[in-house]
Structure formats: structure tokens, C-alpha cells
């Protein structure tokens, strides 16, 4: 159980995103905005991605992060936010589905 009442600045995705921004890096922020059934990470969870594909945080238990990072690079390049949906019913389930059987919606936007 995490007992701290203060932010864990070294691991907090939004703090890391702000640091990247200050370093002049391109940044995308992915956020879980909806979940159905069993989902590994709660609504509001973040994955932050820089222009080189480095990332921190999570939007699932590691099942779809790779796909989100790829989409995020796209979002950084053209500046247009995207809504991604992942689940077992998804046609790409074999590559990036959620083995837990849940579904999630992830909003990916560029910082700035």
C-alpha cells in the first residue's frame, strides 16, 4: 500500500511531462477516460510520451502501451488529439487487446 501523502515526483507522469516540456521536448499525454468490465488501470490514469518514444506511467497493465506510444508520436507530429479504444472485441485484439476481457478508451493529446 502506498502510504505517502505527497506526490512521488520521480514517478508521477504529469510532473515528468512538465519536466520534459521545460527541457524543450515534444510531449503527448494519454489518459484513460472510460473503462468497461475489468480494466487494469482506473479512469484518469496517464501515460506520457516524448517525441522519441520514451514514456512514463501506464494506461493498462502493459497490454496496450506500445500501441498508444505509436499513436502518440502521430499526435505529436500533427497536433490532432485522438480517441483510442482497446478491448477483446477489437479487431486488433491479437496484437494489442486486453487479455483481462475489459475495454478501455484512451484520449491522446499533444501538450501545447
Amino acid at each position: 500500500m502506498d502510504e505517502s501523502i505527497y506526490l512521488d515526483e520521480a514517478r508521477d507522469p504529469l510532473i515528468i511531462a512538465e519536466g520534459w516540456m521545460k527541457d524543450g521536448k515534444d510531449v503527448a499525454i494519454a489518459t484513460v477516460v472510460e473503462t468497461w468490465g475489468s480494466a487494469p488501470r482506473p479512469v484518469g490514469s496517464h501515460l506520457v510520451i516524448d517525441g522519441e518514444g520514451n514514456f512514463h506511467g501506464s494506461v493498462s497493465g502493459g497490454c496496450v502501451e506500445g500501441a498508444v506510444v505509436t499513436e502518440a508520436i502521430d499526435v505529436i507530429d500533427n497536433g490532432k488529439a485522438k480517441m483510442l479504444e482497446f478491448g477483446v472485441a477489437d479487431e486488433t485484439a491479437w496484437q494489442v487487446g486486453l487479455s483481462c476481457g475489459g475495454r478501455i478508451k484512451v484520449y491522446v493529446e499533444r501538450l501545447g
Partner: protein, 234 residues
């Protein structure tokens, strides 16, 4: 996300102040709403709910889709007094999701043997609270009975707008305490926020039962934050 919005949001989170990030999923615009800011209509009601529950969610309002990301500081419980009640209260509160700190300058009471796995300060509240100030996401329970130890912390809790302030002692004891707090400069409306005698009235008799009553009262205070103005909660 707007860079300035991210910077502001992180400032609020670092300072342990609650904020809801509202993102319009149609055009991507975002803004920060702080606790107490007035937002009208269905969106305002959804935001108020996000502050109360801490749950983030998507909502449809005014013909648009919004995502509300609730960033609430982690609530915690500060207990003044390393007494028998505190020994039961500390593990119970931790299980309920409220990290606990115990402060008592009496070194015979504040021992790690009596309080294993608890953040324990064998110091005066004045000194500890200077380092780690109270805030509106902190509950304070003063259970020593000793004015020298309790009073400063109670006044500090009222000034910091702790979401819960409870003080152990009979009505008679509390009446004397009220006089002392008035002398310390506390307002009558502030003092009225103190729960005394402490704990929900469940007929608690043993120290452990009193701990249950205190924890339940603190949780109730936390989950009904913001309802006081509407008179829904005493």
C-alpha cells in the same frame, strides 16, 4: 493539453490542493476548476461530484462531451495523543485508506513498541506541525485530554480548515476547552466545527470502539465535504 494548465495543475497537486481538470473531448480545450469555484448547470453538478468522490469520469453536458479528471490530495489523519484509543485507531484508519501520524511529546506514551508501523512523533505538536502543516485534506483527532498538548493543535486544525476536527472529552471538559480556544483567538463559528464529545454516537465503550466511532465520523466528514453550505450535513 495547455502547457499553462499542466503547470497550474501540478502546482495545485504539489500543494495538496484539490483540482478537477476539465477537458472538452470535442475541441481539446481544457481548464482547471478549484474546489469552491462555481460552475453552473449539469457540468457544475458533475464537477461537484468529482470533488466529493474523487472519481474521474466522462460526462455529457450542454451537448458536449467532457472528461473530468479529479485530482484530490490523499486524505490523512493526524492524532494528537499516543494513547490506547490511538493504538486501535492507527491500524483501522490505515486500512480504510487514511495514512496516520501520531504526535505526543510524552515519550513514555509515544514509543515504537506501542505503535509499530506508524509515523510517530515524540515531540510537541507545535514543532511537528511547523515542519508538516495541517491542511484541508487532513483530519485531526485530539485525544490526550491535556490542554497543554491538545489546544495548540486544535487551534491549528481550525485555522488550516481541516476537513475533520475532533476532541476527546466530556461536554463539561469541552466547555472549558471552548473558553480556552476563544482566548487563543478562535472564532465561535470555527469552534463549532469541533466534534466533541468525539466520535459518532454508537455507544462506544472500549478504546477500540471509540476508535471506530472516530474513524466513522472522520470518513463521514470527508465524504460530505461541500454539502455543509446546503445544510445537508450537521
Amino acid at each position: 493539453m495547455d502547457p499553462y494548465v499542466l503547470k497550474t495543475l501540478n502546482e495545485e497537486r504539489r500543494a495538496r490542493r484539490a483540482a478537477v481538470l476539465v477537458t472538452d473531448l470535442g475541441d481539446g480545450r481544457d481548464r482547471i476548476v478549484r474546489e469552491g469555484d462555481h460552475v453552473a448547470g449539469d457540468l457544475g453538478a458533475a464537477i461537484a461530484n468529482a470533488f466529493r468522490t474523487g472519481n474521474s469520469r466522462s460526462v455529457d453536458a450542454e451537448g458536449r462531451s467532457f472528461f473530468l479528471n479529479a485530482h484530490l490530495p490523499r486524505p490523512r489523519l493526524v492524532v494528537i495523543g499516543a494513547v490506547h484509543i490511538s493504538q486501535a485507531l492507527a491500524p483501522m484508519a490505515r486500512i480504510a485508506g487514511y495514512p496516520v501520524e501520531i504526535i505526543d511529546p510524552r515519550t513514555a506514551f509515544a514509543t515504537p513498541e506501542r505503535f509499530p508501523d506508524v509515523a510517530l512523533h515524540a515531540e510537541w505538536p507545535e514543532d511537528v506541525l511547523k515542519r508538516a502543516p495541517l491542511d484541508s485534506y487532513t483530519a485531526l483527532a485530539a485525544v490526550t485530554h491535556d490542554p497543554k498538548i491538545d489546544d495548540f493543535a486544535l487551534k491549528a486544525a481550525l485555522d488550516a480548515r481541516c476537513f475533520y476536527v475532533g476532541a476527546l472529552g466530556s461536554r463539561k471538559t469541552h466547555a472549558k476547552r471552548v473558553e480556552r480556544l476563544l482566548a487563543l483567538g478562535a472564532g465561535a463559528d470555527q469552534i463549532a466545527r469541533i466534534h466533541a464529545p468525539i466520535g459518532l454516537d454508537i455507544g462506544a465503550a472500549s478504546p477500540a470502539e471509540i476508535a471506530v466511532a472516530v474513524l466513522a465520523q472522520a470518513i463521514h466528514a470527508f465524504r460530505s465535504r461541500g454539502l455543509e453550505a446546503k445544510g445537508a450535513v450537521a
